[in-house]
């Protein structure tokens, strides 16, 4: 007997996640506040750096300020650990009650994370408004914006699976904060959110571009500021897609092994 799939519960999970995030109002305000401060600080730092050094040809001052601002705004969405619920429910054991409900459990986590991201994504609008009071942001052509949007979406899924893999490891270790911290550092440093990867020495850049972190921030950002031109869109997005396939496969395997572990060992 095969059960009919119904989307409704998952839409509801997403809605409840939005409602839940909205209850943490203080987080919203501090998040926006700290974002505005960081936009201002980065503008100051880059301006000072550019005043004393020869500007690189491909990233003049207005482009680097645009880059930093857009990167910080993207962080509103990409810095979220949207599968945190998996870790939480493994940690307090409530995952057992999830398995006792007539739901597809990984899809539940996906829906919950999507709701969370949609809520924080909506904050992009006021955040952009505040940022524009402090800095000038270049707006590229519609075609570039569209490519950026697609690449951003691909980057989102790379981040989603990275987080999912990390949270899945809680099936075995139950303690993931140290690993998570390391991955956050790596993403910050090697993803190109803080410092564009074009500034990295050539030898290092080869490695860094090949890592999944670059697929999250660097690729869409370099498309936005025009360092990656239309002739390379296909290549860079194909590599983002490849990361999604690889990380998605690892996620699936880990989930199956983890769920089996719950099923065999009783959680």
């Amino acid at each position: 007997m095969r059960r009919r799939f119904r989307l409704e519960p998952y839409v509801e999970f997403a809605k409840r996640a939005i409602a839940r995030e909205a209850t943490y109002r203080f987080n919203v305000f501090t998040g926006l506040g700290s974002l505005v401060v960081r936009v201002y600080l980065l503008r100051t730092v880059w301006t000072a750096l550019y005043a004393h050094n020869a500007a690189p040809r491909e990233l003049p001052l207005h482009a680097i300020v645009t880059y930093s601002t857009v990167a910080l705004l993207m962080g509103l969405v990409l810095d979220i650990d949207q599968t945190r619920a998996l870790y939480d429910r493994l940690h307090d054991g409530s995952i057992a009650t999830d398995f006792m409900k007539p739901i597809n459990v990984p899809l539940y986590f996906f829906a919950d994370g999507t709701g969370e991201v949609l809520f924080h994504g909506a904050l992009l609008v006021p955040a952009l408004g505040f940022a524009l009071l402090l800095v000038h942001v270049d707006v590229p052509s519609l075609g570039v914006l569209a490519a950026f949007a697609v690449s951003f979406l691909l980057g989102y899924f790379v981040g989603f699976f990275l987080n999912f893999i990390l949270n899945c490891s809680a099936f075995w270790t139950l303690e993931i904060s140290a690993v998570q911290m390391i991955v956050t550092w790596l993403t910050d440093l090697l993803g190109g959110q803080l410092v564009p990867l074009v500034f990295f020495p050539a030898a290092l850049a080869g490695v860094v571009y090949a890592l999944p972190f670059a697929a999250m921030f660097s690729t869409p950002l370099l498309i936005y500021v025009g360092v990656i031109g239309p002739e390379r869109y296909f290549d860079v997005m194909a590599s983002q897609l490849a990361w999604i396939v690889v990380l998605g496969t690892v996620s699936t395997l880990l989930w199956r092994a983890g769920a089996r572990r719950v099923v065999v060992q009783g959680g």
């Binding site: 409704e8 519960p9 409530s94 009650t97 006792m100 007539p102 719950v262 009783g266």
Partner: protein, 335 residues
């Protein structure tokens, strides 16, 4: 047709064998030796629709493991299990629609959401029709007095309120069968009674089958005509609670308060269970000796100031069973 049927159900857990100490911990990183432990060893029983059964046993007896196999989150090592015609671990989601669960120690409500929102979410998870949902919610809300805290986030509810919410949540989709795992743990007397009343009512009016796991035998006495006793993974008794009382409740206790302190105290036909200051507890078999005869024998030899007879409670019967095992005449099959 039985709603639950298990035959020779077994579950063996495999865990890494570890020597004690740092050496053992390091050793376990490299060489892995496994040790096997059967949590459930050949459990067979069946339940008819509408029964209320107490599934009881000491900690670690295998109760939760059995429940987990019935809910489909654990795969049995061997044996068969059917719940409402389904094999739970093969059809977990379909099985989940037939069952409701309440854990005293773990809520299935959504922590951050108001109670009402948790119910709404369950409505969509179980695809409950709007009318049915409204009816059930109205009824449960009346029986469990939920209205006052419907809008309160679950994390702010008291234990009693949360448990009432959990009960309503487990029953909203009209499950054929509910598993109650220590549902009254930590509750005060009044809350316990209102939960018991609710369970009895749902069983009576909706014919819901109930499996109750608990250490509070007052729950069992109040609700369960039939009990299944499990110890070390095996069923040691399955049958009517009354029958257990008849077979094992043969020993009564006579409590005597002595008028003065005698250096020695002994009466024919009874065993001194304890003696504290002037209070002596005498155990005797009601089949061999009447209370009247025993009292007379005591009065013949000692001066006493008070006397009382204590009937065996289910608690002491079960304690005896855990200690001695069931040696009764026959395993009583349920009607």
């Amino acid at each position: 047709m039985p709603i639950i049927e298990t035959v020779d159900l077994r579950k063996v857990f495999r865990s890494i064998k570890r020597e004690p100490g740092l050496r053992g911990a390091l050793g376990a990183l490299f060489t892995r030796e496994y040790e096997e432990k059967a949590a459930v060893e050949g459990v067979s029983f069946s339940l008819e629709p509408g029964e209320v059964v107490g599934y009881i046993g000491p900690n670690g007896a295998g109760k939760s493991t059995t429940i987990k196999m019935l809910t489909g989150i654990l795969v049995p090592t061997s044996g068969t299990v059917r719940v409402a015609g389904l094999v739970p671990y093969e059809q977990r989601e379909a099985n989940a629609e037939n069952i409701g669960v309440v854990f005293g120690q773990r809520s299935q409500l959504y922590w951050d959401l108001p109670l009402r929102e948790s119910f709404e979410l369950l409505r969509s998870i179980y695809d409950i029709s709007r009318d049915r949902y409204r009816e059930n919610l109205a009824e449960f809300s009346r029986l469990l007095d939920l209205e006052r805290f419907m809008g309160t986030p679950v994390r702010q509810l008291s234990l009693g309120e949360r448990m009432r919410g959990d009960f309503a949540a487990a029953m909203l989709h009209d499950p054929k069968l509910v598993f109650l795992d220590e549902p009254t743990i930590g509750l005060d007397v009044i809350a316990k009674e209102s939960i018991r009343e609710f369970v009895a009512r749902v069983n009576r009016e909706r014919g819901t089958t109930v499996i109750l796991t608990t250490h509070d035998l007052a729950d069992v006495e109040r609700l369960c005509p039939r009990i299944i006793l499990i110890d070390e993974g095996k069923v040691i008794y399955d049958g009517a609670l009354e029958r257990l009382r008849e077979e094992y409740g043969t020993h009564r206790t006579l409590v005597v308060t002595l008028f003065e302190s005698y250096p020695e105290f002994a009466v024919d036909g009874a065993v001194v269970e304890s003696r504290e200051a002037n209070v002596v507890r005498l155990r005797f078999d009601r089949r061999k000796l009447s209370a009247e005869t025993l009292v007379r024998r005591v009065l013949d030899r000692y001066a006493i100031s008070d006397i009382a007879i204590v009937e065996p409670d289910i608690e002491s019967i079960v304690r005896r069973l855990y200690l001695e095992g069931y040696g009764g005449t026959a395993r009583v099959e349920p009607p």
